[in-house]
């Protein structure tokens, strides 16, 4: 934990480290007694999704660079940022899923992570460019409307 009340870790871009990231984020979030178990689970899953995407983006490049995860405990929120050094992507270019009744729906095994993050977190911000992507996931510690 750093002087600002945050937690930082850097992991190799390997799937074996996902469970460590989940454990660290859940432990940090549990430091705030206002956050219930359900919201901690929301954050844990959302961070797992963001970190999975980061690992995949490094794998596509064959990059051995590390992925940075920073967890900040604020007055009214917990914010986790997952920063990779992949090629970036256009979040608006993702094609929508076919409806459940369409047989083509079973062709979509991927692409569920970002929609899940947007539902699970109160705020999801994505900054992406040629030098990488940073996904910020915010969960409020006090009741507030989701954006």
């Amino acid at each position: 934990m750093d002087a600002d009340g945050g937690v930082e870790l850097e992991i190799p871009a390997h799937a074996e480290f996902l469970s460590l990231v989940r454990a660290v984020v859940a432990t940090a979030a549990a430091l705030d007694p206002r956050l219930g178990d359900e919201r901690i689970e929301d954050l844990r899953l959302a961070v797992s999704e963001a970190t999975t995407n980061a690992i995949e983006s490094h794998a596509q490049l064959g990059s051995e660079e590390r992925i940075a995860i920073r967890c900040d405990l604020g007055e009214d929120r917990i914010e986790v940022e997952v920063q990779d050094q992949g090629e970036g992507f256009d979040p608006d270019s993702l094609s929508p899923m076919p409806p459940p009744t369409d047989p083509e729906r079973l062709e979509y095994e991927h692409g569920l992570g970002l929609p899940l993050m947007r539902v699970l977190a109160d705020e999801t911000r994505i900054r992406t460019g040629a030098d990488g992507t940073a996904v910020s996931l915010v969960v409020y510690t006090t009741p507030r409307g989701r954006s």
Binding site: S48, T52, R105, L106, E107
Partner: protein
């Protein structure tokens, strides 16, 4: 991280019991077992996720792949899941309308004979 994977027979269904956390690290193990079971001819598969403590979208993707593979082979997949979080994920992704969810293995293997049921449209 390794998953606990065991199979049992509830003819005509084969039940694949999954235990542990399904993510990018463990999903390939589950995918491999699903492929092995379906490709040996057990096309009617119950995925028992009762003891799955965590599952992210990578795991959901394996379930989708299992359904596709089983239906292509003329069978089907039923999913047993009591974890509220996991059920919520199936609802968010609307996959609860693509395949059937059950609370118990006994409920999943009961009822209509595989291939004879009619799925509601819409």
């Amino acid at each position: 991280m390794f998953l606990g994977l065991t199979t049992s027979s509830r003819a005509p269904w084969t039940v694949l019991h999954v235990r542990g956390e399904i993510d990018m690290a463990s999903a390939p193990q589950l995918r491999q077992e699903v492929v092995r079971v379906i490709d040996r001819g057990d096309h009617d598969l119950v995925l028992d996720l009762t003891e799955v403590a965590f599952c992210d979208s990578t795991g959901i993707g394996v379930v989708v792949a299992a359904v596709k593979r089983a239906r292509t082979a003329g069978g089907d997949v039923r999913v047993v899941c009591v974890n509220e979080r996991l059920r919520e994920m199936f609802a968010i992704t609307r996959l609860d309308r693509v395949f059937d969810l059950f609370d118990l293995v006994d409920e999943a293997v009961a009822g209509a004979v595989p291939g004879a049921e009619t799925r509601e449209a819409g």
